[in-house]
Subunit: 139 residues, 4 copies
C-alpha cells in the first residue's frame, strides 16, 4: 500500500471456530478479525463506536470485500494491518492486509457509512470519530 498512511497493526489468532471442514479458515471468519482490528484502531485513536459522543449514529457497511491469497489454519497467529484509503463526508474506506509470518494471506476493503439513527439517512462523520481517524493517520 505505497501511498497510504502507515497502518495500525492488530495481532490476532485464528480460532477453531474460524475454521471449516477444509481445515482452513472459513472466509466469513476473516471479517471478524477485521472487525476486531477496526475497533481497537478506533479505541487507540480515542473514539470507539461505543463512545457516548456517537450515540445517535450507526455505522453500517455498504461495501465489503476480501481477496484470499494464502491459506490460514487453526492457531495461526496473524497481523491485521489496517489503514484508511479514503475519507468522505459521510463515509470512509478502510483497507486491511493480513499476514502470518512473512506470508501475505488476505487483503480486504470495507466502506462504512454514517447513518443518523433518527432520520435513518447518511450524516456527516461525527467529529469525534473524524478526529480519531485523523489522529491515527498522523501517527
Amino acid at each position: 500500500m505505497p501511498d497510504l498512511p502507515p497502518p495500525f497493526l492488530y495481532p490476532s489468532r485464528i480460532r477453531f471456530v474460524d475454521t471449516d471442514a477444509s481445515q482452513r479458515i472459513h472466509y466469513t471468519a476473516m471479517f471478524r478479525h477485521f472487525e476486531a482490528a477496526e475497533m481497537e484502531w478506533l479505541r487507540a485513536g480515542g473514539c470507539p463506536y461505543s463512545d457516548s459522543r456517537m450515540a445517535g449514529v450507526t455505522f453500517p457497511r455498504v461495501h465489503v470485500e476480501c481477496d484470499f491469497q494464502a491459506e490460514l489454519r487453526f492457531d495461526d497467529l496473524v497481523t491485521v494491518a489496517l489503514t484508511v484509503e479514503r475519507i468522505g463526508t459521510s463515509s470512509f474506506t478502510m483497507v486491511f492486509a493480513v499476514s502470518s509470518g512473512d506470508r501475505q494471506c488476505a487483503r480486504g476493503k470495507i466502506v462504512v457509512v454514517c447513518i443518523d439513527r433518527g432520520t435513518q439517512r447518511p450524516c456527516p462523520i461525527p467529529s469525534a470519530l473524524l478526529d480519531s481517524i485523523q489522529r491515527q493517520l498522523a501517527k
Copy 2:
C-alpha cells in the same frame, strides 16, 4: 421424551460454515439450528418474536445446554424436534432432539425469560406468545 407433548419437527441442513477443522459440526453451530427451529415453531403457532404484539419484550436465554451424541458433517440433513418441557410465569423451557436419519445426534435445552424492554425486569409471557405455545403443544 416420553412425557412431553409431541414435538414440532424442523428439517435443517448442516452448512459448510457450521463445520470446523475436525470436519464435524462446530458445537456452536448447532445452536443456530435450534434457533431456526424455535422461530419456525412460533411462526407455525401464529406468533413469531417479530410480531408487533411483542414489541415491548425481549427474550434472552438464561440457560442453554447441549449434549452431542453422534457426529454431524457437512451437508448432513437433520431434523430438529422441539418441544416444551416447562411453562412458567415469565419463562419457558424448550428441549431439542436432533437426528439425522435414524441416528440421535444431539439433545439441547434452552430456558427463555421474558424481559420488559422498559424496566429491564422479567415480565409475564405475553399472552399472544403463550397462546402460540399452547396452540403448538395441543397439536
Copy 3:
C-alpha cells in the same frame, strides 16, 4: 443482471443470530445465506460439494464481496438469486442478488477456485461439478 443466465432462487429467513446491536443484519451473516443458496443450487443441479465424485478437491473462495443496498431485519424473508458470471478452467464466479419483497437489499460476488487436496494446487473444475453448473445455467 441483463446478460446473465436466469438465476436460481433460494428463499431464506434472517435469523436473530444474523442481527447485531444496530438491529439490522450483521454483514457477515449475509454470506451464510449466500452459502446456503450455493449449496442448494448445486444440489438442484445434481452435484453438491459433498458428492463423492469430488472427494479429492476443495473449493476455497479467492474473492468475496458484497454491496449492501437496503437494511434487513430479524425475521425478514429474503430471496437469494444466484447465477454464474464466469466459468474458467479451475475457477468460477457466482453473483448473488438479495431481495425482500420488492426491495433490492444486497448484491454479492464470490470467486471459487478448485484445489486438488493432494497437490494443494488449482485443478480443473471436476466434470461432475461443471456438468451440474451447466445444467443449472441451461434451465
Copy 4:
C-alpha cells in the same frame, strides 16, 4: 468456585458481531470467548491443540452449557476465568466464569472428550495435554 484450582484468567472484548438485535450479546457468541480462553490456557501450559504431539487426536465437546446472569453489550471488556472441574481417563471438564468489572455475567461448563482420529473412538488424554492441564492447575 470454592473447591476448584485457581482459574486461568483471559481478558476478552465483546465485539459487534457478538451482539444481536436485543443490543446484548447473542448467547452463542459467549462460546467463542470460552474457546479463546481455552486455547490460551493450554498454550500457557505448553500444549495447545495445534501441537504436533496431538496430531492423531481430536477434541469434540460432548456437553456444553451456559447460564447467563447479567447482560453484556458491545465493547464490554470481560474476564473469562477458566478452571478444571474434573479430569477423567479420556475426557475433562472445564468451567468458565465470565465477569465484567464486578458483575458476574455468565457461568459455563464444557466437557471435552479425546477421540482417536483413526478409530474414531475415545482414547486416553494425550500425555502432553495432560501434563499441560496439570501444570496449569498447579500454578
